[in-house]
């Protein structure tokens, strides 16, 4: 079972996220971390490999800095990595990103593509479905449990009311939610080993990507205006003197909630 895990470097959760002058996410001035949900995808890939054999390849699209995130996945135990990096990719929206990733995936032999259900910066959760559509692969998304059989994959897909059991043939694109496992921490040995693992760099041309279909110009959406939300007016805060519940009820009544 050969698995590709797509990982994205995102601004650290605790960092103050900003937009650059072209309204794209400012990735330079903040610390980058591996998208938290992708850590679960890396872990799941490693678990499947440990049970079934095969190879785990990390794929990441992003600026030079994304190498940090790729290294982290390698130090967790992935075997090799592909970094899709090209100035022409800057500002790609989901449609363009999924196209570029699908092209890069075309250069890597795989039965499964694993990834987090969304990135914590854009939070669209559309790329997994777009990849399945582009690759003609089975879509198995929002998985809280993955079982790999012989040529098939069965998942529990989390939904609002519970879950669905969904089964499909490989090749498949599987996105995972955070309840699926407990991602391992890279060991010292893993960190040292990661430095020697193969890392291939792909440019647009290497992956056969049409430059007109990626980047800000090739995207299907454009930002018109960005406004910082005005700071919230300080609210009323009272200390409970034994009548806090009653005071809160009064507030709710004034606001017509009760």
């Amino acid at each position: 079972m050969n698995i590709v895990v797509c990982v994205k470097q995102v601004p650290d959760t605790w960092a103050e996220k900003k937009l650059g002058s072209d309204n794209t996410v400012d990735r330079e001035s903040v610390d980058g971390v591996m998208n938290e949900l992708d850590e679960y995808a890396v872990e799941e890939a490693l678990k499947i490999k440990e049970a079934q054999g095969g190879e785990v390849t990390v794929l990441s699209m992003g600026p030079d800095k994304a190498v940090e995130t790729i290294r982290k996945a390698l130090s967790m135990g992935a075997d090799k990595a592909v970094h899709l990096v090209d100035p022409g990719l800057h500002g790609s929206d989901a449609l363009a990103t999924s196209y570029a990733l699908a092209q890069a995936l075309g250069t890597i032999e795989h039965d499964l593509v694993l990834l987090g259900v969304e990135s914590t910066d854009a939070r669209m959760s559309v790329v997994p479905a777009m990849l399945a559509e582009r690759l003609g692969a089975s879509q198995l998304t929002f998985a809280r449990k993955v079982e790999v059989g012989d040529g098939t994959v069965k998942i529990e897909r989390l939904n609002d009311a519970g879950y669905e059991v969904v089964e499909a043939p490989t090749p498949a694109v599987v996105s995972v939610v955070e309840k699926i496992n407990e991602p391992r921490y890279p060991s010292f040995k893993g960190i040292m080993a990661a430095k020697k693992k193969p890392l291939t760099t792909l440019t647009l041309a290497d992956a056969g990507i049409d430059a007109g279909k990626v980047g800000l110009g090739g995207s299907g959406t454009e930002v018109a205006e960005v406004t910082a939300r005005p700071p919230k007016q300080a609210g009323q805060i009272v200390k409970d003197e034994g009548d806090g519940g009653t005071k809160l009820a009064e507030f709710l009544a004034q606001q017509k909630f009760i």
């Binding site: 559309v126 809280r144 009311a161 018109a224 960005v226 609210g235 409970d240 806090g244 009653t246 005071k247």
Partner: protein
């Protein structure tokens, strides 16, 4: 006026509230036309008409029920090709966003998700980075595909006499790969759905134990609210993950959000910051949640919450 397609989200034919919101929104942008996929179109019809659908496209093939996402995207793509609508509006649910994703690839169209408003010219407003910025954007390629969050528009009835058109679908093999073998319901019934609820009452670490969620549930029930939970609470196994509000859980934007025993770490704020009115109860006066509140009580939730529930019940009777 060109049609604005609205994908109907429904439970056995009963349209969800977000569908009625989208029909209301579509009416301000063009001719609202509903696209119904699955069983129960007869149940749905009256409601869709009441909320102004001038046309209803029905794909009622029983086969569609066995699959998720992909067939609905194929149905929509077929309707778009046939009717050349001005835009497609889809509820911003997990499945809705994925349908939009596949449709975007099929049509080579741009897609915007999680809009909280759509105005003339299909300019969508989104709230990003946990509410820190408001962004307006447009689809610049193909037919605009926009997913819209629940509670973005107040649904308003405007009765119409819709024409009905059956859509015959020939599903591709690609759309029939992922087959649903079983559907399991875990949610306790009777409460509104988290993302659609007008009021959400959430509990967190301060509850100290899963069994203490009853006081959250009692308060929620007295207000007709949905129950949410912080990540600390779901990680501890105190409440189901389906109810998690925050960066890696659900994003909610209700009229009233009550954070109880939740410190308000950025993880949590990202999922509730755009709520219209925010109330918190926490024993730590320094808890960051108090930076967001309209009204906050510094105190022991085990005293304040039962008193509040009693007071609400008293005022109701």
């Amino acid at each position: 006026m060109a049609e604005v397609l609205v994908l109907v989200e429904h439970v056995d034919g009963a349209p969800k509230k977000v569908t009625l919101e989208l029909l209301t929104l579509a009416r301000s942008l063009g001719e609202p036309a509903a696209v119904f996929v699955g069983n129960g179109a007869d149940v749905a019809k009256d409601k869709l008409a009441e909320y102004g659908a001038t046309k209803i496209y029905v794909a009622g093939d029983a086969e569609l029920e066995s699959y998720l996402v992909a067939p609905k995207a194929e149905v929509l793509a077929q309707v778009v090709q046939q009717s050349s609508p001005a835009a497609v509006l889809i509820p911003s649910s997990p499945e809705g966003k994925e349908i939009a994703a596949r449709l975007a690839v099929k049509l080579e169209s741009g897609v915007i998700t999680d809009a909280v408003g759509v105005s003339d010219g299909f300019v969508a407003t989104q709230s990003i980075f946990g509410g820190a910025f408001n962004v307006t954007s447009k689809v610049s390629k193909g037919t605009p595909i926009i997913t819209v969050r629940p509670n973005s528009t107040a649904p308003e009835a405007s009765p119409a006499q819709p024409t009905e058109e059956q859509v015959s679908v020939t599903l591709s093999d690609a759309a029939k790969k992922a087959k649903v073998l079983d559907r399991v319901t875990e949610k306790k019934g009777g409460r509104p759905e988290l993302t659609e609820a007008a009021i959400v009452v959430s509990g967190g670490r301060g509850l100290g134990d899963g069994k203490n969620f009853d006081i959250i549930e009692k308060l929620a029930d007295s207000l007709g609210a949905a129950v949410g939970a912080s990540r600390a609470a779901t990680d501890a196994g105190w409440y189901p993950h389906t109810n998690q509000v925050g960066q890696t859980g659900k994003t909610v934007s209700p009229q009233l959000y009550m954070a109880i025993g939740i410190s308000g770490a950025i993880q949590h704020r990202a999922g509730m910051q755009t709520s219209k009115t925010i109330v918190a109860i926490n024993k730590d006066p320094e808890a960051p949640i108090f930076e967001l509140v309209d009204f906050g009580i510094v105190g022991d939730l085990f005293n304040v919450v039962p008193q509040l529930t009693d007071e609400i019940d008293k005022r109701k009777s």
